[in-house]
């Protein structure tokens, strides 16, 4: 079950024609899929489209009513291969994943799909993880569109435009027998806006129909001679068909302006930012009435040569606003204009940043440079962001002491079961007296590379933690390497790419599999080894069983990662064991974020029903704490923080545990395992006491009062309260 529930929101998917829906981008996309008569949907979660998968999961009843098949794919490759159902059958299929990492994984399947082509509309919805908030390498999806010849839609950030892009995407795919990719930029996915709904449409052909009427056509299979034929088809028939469809349906938009001798060509996804920049410079208004002619590429691949030439006709200069690098579009435009011997001068990344996100600041500055070169009289606005950064009027003028603003990178949550794992690993390294090469993976556990753990040297991709250390395997070395993998990455591919590989090659590696019972970093989706009952998926398949199945003999599962000492000893054992080959430690405890979401309502219910409940939290004695913060350096828990020293004789802040503590126990375990200090205590408060609790309280209170009386009497001789 995912971290966020869309159970209420998905009811909006039932609305019919004419209703205005105020929704988030991802919900609009789901509605658009249903309006398009989609027959099957799959995908793999990952920001910014994790919620799209969650919405689809929560919408399963509606999907069933419409005979839409939905699968939580094992990986992006699985999702892409699913689209094979649209090769022979007129089934509309959609898949979704995070780009560009998802495209990397899916490329094999997508290249095969694009080679043979499709009959039913095949749509790949890409959650473009680029710019601020991104957690992956900064690359472009555009390259994948070009290399396999799939069309790329980049609708302007507007809910209606996005809904329309989904619908036309299917049509374009069918008209040109080509898979279509729909790029949803990060901010568009999380965007809230409104659109007018249409009725949901049941697929013309369902999955069941297709299964019962199997078809085959060897000319669609990638094997010579068909593969050579496919390449010719791509150029000879599919490309022209796509261009014709795009022109005919006017998917790209042209806006005239009175400054007709210049123009701007912009990717659809950047249209809003460009219009804001034009507004700031006094060249447009809130309704997009621009003075500078615009060509908005809602389809960024293929580029329609004729439209480019028509737009550039009679213009002195044109600016291409294209985010990311390399500048594929700008290069393409240069080729088009040169071949046609067109007069317009083309500007782009000579005036705009070559790399990095095209923020309002970046676009406004580049646009200002362009307009001031060719139409200075059109520029009527002078926003402050154009001033040099050291000008007192600039928004970037130094107005805050730089030292007072620290970075605040994401980290492990309060009570996270992964924290004690890394504490234990740190302590094991201290005990063995050796530092190790640690190959990290993708997932929450990657936060180990930051303070306070500083563990992990590389990360090569999802599920590739073990493979990332494959070369560092030597019988002569005096120590082993350590690899980390999450349960998500493990099932995604790590079992074969990492564990199987290590068994086969005899890799002498300690592999830590962090099993928090969910794909936690992407929002708590279930995976094969999840412990929860899932009504539509098969769970509870242990990771240890799987690794033993591929030949690992040294494998241990720890079911309570909060026991730092035990885990430390296990790490030491694995690091020093005489046995060669992979040694797999499965460290299993439930993701605290999801656990709290599950447990909190249960506890509240028990308290209301008058049942005995023990509330736990940790604390630090300010008197005993000497303010060295060693505890924070082995933990980093957000609930273990500092406060001003209440002792008038001391000045350094003391450690403290704040109310958000969930009593996970890691503070106590660390105090023990790291021999920290005697300041930590756990408080258990009993709610709805039994008679025994009350009796116990009485006896203890009396005893403690008696013993502490002389202690307090002595102190009172010296102290004044």
């Amino acid at each position: 079950m995912a971290e966020r529930s869309f159970a209420t929101e998905v009811q909006q998917l039932r609305h019919g024609a004419g209703t205005t829906l105020h929704v988030e981008g991802i919900l609009a996309v789901t509605k658009a899929l249903l309006q398009s008569g989609v027959a099957y949907v799959g995908g793999y979660q990952g920001a910014p489209i994790s919620h799209l998968m969650d919405v689809l999961g929560d919408a399963r009843e509606i999907l069933q009513e419409l005979d839409v098949y939905f699968e939580n794919s094992a990986s992006e490759a699985t999702a892409a291969a699913m689209l094979a159902a649209s090769v022979h059958y007129p089934l509309r299929g959609a898949i979704t994943f995070k780009s560009t990492v998802g495209l990397n994984v899916a490329s094999d399947a997508l290249a095969n799909l694009a080679s043979g082509g499709v009959t039913g509309g095949a749509l790949v919805i890409l959650g473009e993880d680029y710019g601020e908030g991104s957690s992956i390498m900064q690359e472009r999806s555009h390259a994948f569109a070009m290399k396999s010849q799939m069309w790329l839609l980049d609708p302007r950030p507007n809910i209606t435009a996005i809904v329309e892009a989904v619908e036309t995407g299917f049509e374009l795919s069918e008209a040109s027998n080509t898979p279509v990719m729909l790029q949803l930029r990060l901010r568009s996915c999380h965007m809230h806006g409104a659109f007018v709904a249409k009725d949901n449409v049941r697929p013309q052909m369902t999955i069941k129909d297709a299964i019962e009427q199997p078809k085959r056509d060897p000319s669609r299979i990638v094997l010579p001679p068909a593969s050579f034929l496919h390449e010719q088809e791509k150029i000879g028939s599919r490309w022209p068909a796509a261009v014709e469809f795009i022109r005919e349906r006017g998917l790209n938009e042209v806006f005239a302006g009175d400054a007709a001798d210049v123009g701007i060509i912009v990717q659809g996804g950047l249209y809003n930012t460009l219009n804001r920049a034009l507004e700031l410079l006094g060249c447009s208004d809130a309704y997009g009435n621009t003075r500078i002619p615009l060509y908005v590429m809602n389809v960024t691949y293929p580029v329609v040569d004729s439209e480019i030439l028509e737009f550039c006709e009679g213009k002195r200069a044109v600016l291409m606003v294209e985010e990311g690098q390399p500048d594929y579009l700008e290069q393409n435009l240069h080729a088009i204009l040169r071949r046609a011997d067109a007069r317009a001068v083309l500007h782009g990344k000579d005036l705009l940043p070559i790399a990095g996100e095209y923020t309002a600041t970046a676009v406004t500055r580049g646009l200002s440079a362009f307009l001031n070169k060719y139409r200075p009289e059109a520029v009527e606005g002078a926003p402050a962001l154009l001033l040099p950064d050291d000008d007192p009027g600039s928004p970037f003028a130094p107005r805050v002491e730089p030292k007072a603003v620290h970075g605040r990178p994401p980290g492990l949550c309060t009570g996270c079961p992964e924290r004690p794992i890394f504490s234990a690993l740190k302590l094991a390294e201290r005990e063995t007296g050796k530092q190790h090469h640690i190959s990290a993976d993708i997932g929450c556990h990657l936060f180990s590379i930051n303070e306070p753990f500083n563990l992990g040297a590389t990360t090569m991709g999802y599920g590739l933690g073990s493979a990332g250390a494959a070369a560092l395997n030597s019988a002569e070395a005096d120590r082993r390497t350590i690899a980390v993998m999450g349960d998500g990455g493990f099932w995604h591919n790590g079992l074969t790419s990492g564990v199987g590989n290590a068994v086969f090659n005899g890799t002498d590696q300690v592999l830590l599999v962090v099993d928090n019972e969910y794909a936690a970093a992407t929002g708590g989706q279930d995976v094969l080894s999840s412990q929860a009952d899932n009504p539509i998926r098969s769970t509870k398949h242990p990771i240890e069983k799987a690794v033993r199945g591929v030949g690992v003999t040294w494998a241990k599962t720890v079911t309570n990662t909060y026991k730092v000492g035990e885990l430390r000893d296990l790490f030491v054992e694995a690091l020093t064991s005489k046995q060669r080959g992979p040694k797999v430690i499965v460290a299993q405890s439930e993701c605290q974020l999801n656990r709290q979401r599950r447990v909190k309502p249960e506890t509240n219910k028990k308290i209301k029903e008058g049942k005995r409940v023990v509330r736990q939290r940790f604390g630090v004695d300010a008197d005993t704490c000497t303010g060295d913060h060693a505890c924070i350096r082995v933990s980093g828990c957000p609930s273990l923080t500092i406060k001003p020293n209440p002792d008038p004789m001391r000045t350094d802040p003391v450690a403290t545990v704040i109310d958000s503590c969930v009593g996970c126990g890691v503070c106590g375990a660390n105090a023990h395992a790291a021999s920290l200090c005697p300041s930590f205590y756990r408080t258990d408060v009993v709610v709805n006491e039994t008679w025994w609790d009350r009796a116990l309280t009485k006896v203890r209170t009396a005893w403690i009062r008696a013993l502490s009386a002389p202690v307090e009497r002595r102190a009172a001789k010296y102290e004044v309260v």
Binding site: D628, Y681, I704, K717
Partner: protein
């Protein structure tokens, strides 16, 4: 045309929060209140991985209903931006003080336009928390900067207000937004948005009300002037940065203590310390408050004669005080650090701290336990062999410390630590017995070692003070690196020895005091002494030998 300049533009709102704080809920409420009033609303965020406690920005634009819309429209509805544009943000809401600083740094909050609504509480960043000493950013500075960088600054501890209402900060901040009157909607319109969302409505509205009122408080004092004639800043908080209540109470108590120390020191100590309190009057006035704290502490720690020893130690240094009419830095520092060192944290003292009544009362309060409700307190103790032998009488301790079988047994027994339930009969009794061992302390191994260390340290101070007062003050402050338990403490002792050695070698140099201060900072920069070794090399121009200088025998 220039409709942007003529004011046909959306209201722009940026929310800076940390993942998990409800920034998304807050932006949903703003969208809801805007849409209900006929505005075109668009919100977005980049939460992603930042949802895991990282800093993140939510952004909302509200476009007024069909106001003077042009007849010709390229788009049927307003085109709204997904990015906050530096210099063009009308309202910034920051859930925490450092995030307000971040908003200023990123150019979202500017003096010509922005209403800055910020919670003044601090959620410390990891870099502030892991420092060995005090790594906190300067809150006062941040508040001053926030005032100067905003057109209008609305500040209060909205986190505290939310907790009061048993709600979350998004609700009190939404109330503050309503109370600030920065948006053209009524209180009822805002509250309707909370009601429509339908989750924890009552608690949210209670927090909303507290936030609303806090934001409307009139400025109690005129604001300090802004640089370069930008005019006065209307502010909605007092001159003093609003610290949390606990810190304010502590400051008031210190003030009271200082006043009484000068006028009636006897009131600050118990009946058995009256003679010592009288003697404190012989010391420079600024040092007296600290001395009285030291008297009480040393007496509770060991006894009245130990307090006499304390006063004698400080008196040695006070005799060399040259800032008699100033802050008496040297005497005050010695009064502070000598007491802290003399009351080093050993097992006997920790046991005493654990069984004090006021401690248990404090824990009950912290755990929100009602009177009479069963509460258990479990201590996580990890006595190490040295800590045990240190507490024993010198000869026994030394013998056992050298005994391999004893070491093996203790190591085995304590390897995984022990948990003591202080609130149980057995647990309390065990700690009580431990605290009873106090009279044995002066005969222990560690006691002898610590007293010798203290005397060596003070000898150095006394030798240095006549020639270089500032250096002597810095030597006193070096005691601050002696902190922690176990490994942290032994690292501290090593650092201290290096600092004392350096102090001797620095003596005579004109920059000796500042150089030693730099070395002390370096000692607190990491856990393994790397920074200190590097600093010693650069300050003294020679590499530190691997053989560590020893001060303490």
């Amino acid at each position: 045309m220039s409709s942007w300049k003529s004011g046909r533009r959306p209201i722009t709102i940026a929310i800076l929060a940390m993942g998990g704080e409800g920034g998304g809920v807050l932006s949903d409420w703003i969208v809801s209140v805007g849409e209900a009033a006929g505005y075109t609303a668009q919100s977005t965020s980049v939460a992603g991985v930042a949802q895991r406690t990282g800093a993140t920005v939510y952004y909302v634009e509200l476009f007024p209903p069909s106001e003077k819309a042009p007849a010709e429209r390229a788009r049927p509805e307003p085109v709204l931006s997904l990015f906050p544009t530096p210099g063009e943000v009308d309202i910034v809401i920051a859930s925490e003080l450092m995030e307000a600083g971040r908003a200023i740094q990123r150019g979202f909050c500017t003096p010509d336009r922005t209403t800055l609504i910020a919670s003044t509480n601090r959620v410390y960043a990891i870099t502030e928390r892991i420092a060995l000493g005090d790594g906190r950013a300067d809150s006062d500075q941040l508040i001053q900067d926030a005032r100067a960088a905003a057109k209008r600054f609305v500040g209060a501890n909205f986190m505290h207000l939310a907790e009061q209402a048993r709600s979350v900060i998004s609700a009190s901040l939404f109330g503050a937004l309503a109370g600030s009157a920065a948006l053209p909607f009524t209180r009822e319109q805002f509250e309707a948005a909370v009601r429509t969302s339908g989750k924890a409505v009552e608690a949210s509205l209670a927090a909303f009300a507290l936030g609303f009122d806090a934001a409307r408080q009139p400025a109690p004092t005129p604001a300090p002037s802004r640089p370069a004639g930008s005019g006065p800043v209307p502010v909605a908080i007092g001159r003093r940065p609003p610290h949390d209540a606990a810190a304010e109470a502590a400051t008031a108590e210190e003030e009271r203590h200082r006043t009484l120390a000068a006028t009636d020191p006897g009131q600050l100590v118990g009946p058995d310390l009256q003679a010592q309190a009288a003697r404190v009057a012989e010391f420079p006035e600024p040092a007296r408050s600290m001395l009285l704290h030291g008297c009480v502490r040393t007496a509770v720690y060991q006894g009245v004669s130990y307090t006499d020893r304390y006063l004698a130690r400080v008196a040695r240094v006070a005799a060399l005080e040259s800032e008699d009419k100033g802050a008496a830095r040297l005497t005050t520092g010695t009064a502070r650090h000598a007491a802290l060192w003399m009351c080093y944290q050993d097992t006997i003292h920790v046991a005493l701290q654990k069984i004090r009544r006021r401690r248990i009362a404090g824990i009950r309060e912290e755990a929100h336990a009602k009177s009479g409700q069963l509460m258990q307190v479990r201590e996580y103790l990890h006595p190490q062999i040295d800590e045990i032998t240190d507490t024993l009488p010198t000869r026994l301790g030394r013998w056992l410390a050298g005994s391999a079988p004893f070491r093996r047994v203790v190591t085995k027994l304590t390897r995984n630590g022990m948990v003591v339930n202080t609130t149980s009969v057995a647990g309390f009794t065990a700690l009580w017995v431990m605290a009873l061992m106090r009279p044995l302390r002066p005969r222990s191994l560690r006691f002898g070692r610590e007293q010798a260390g203290i005397d060596d340290w003070l000898d150095l101070v006394v030798r240095t003070a006549p020639d270089d007062y500032d250096l002597a003050c810095e030597i006193v402050e070096c005691q601050g690196v002696l902190k922690g338990y176990g490994q942290t403490h032994s690292h501290g002792s090593e650092s201290f020895a290096v600092l004392m050695d350096s102090a001797r070698r620095l003596a005579g140099r004109p920059d000796a005091a500042s150089a030693l201060a730099r070395l002390r900072d370096a000692a607190l920069a990491d856990d393994d002494g790397t920074t200190l070794r590097a600093a010693v090399t650069s300050v003294l121009g020679e590499r530190l030998s691997d053989e560590r200088p020893t001060l303490m025998r």
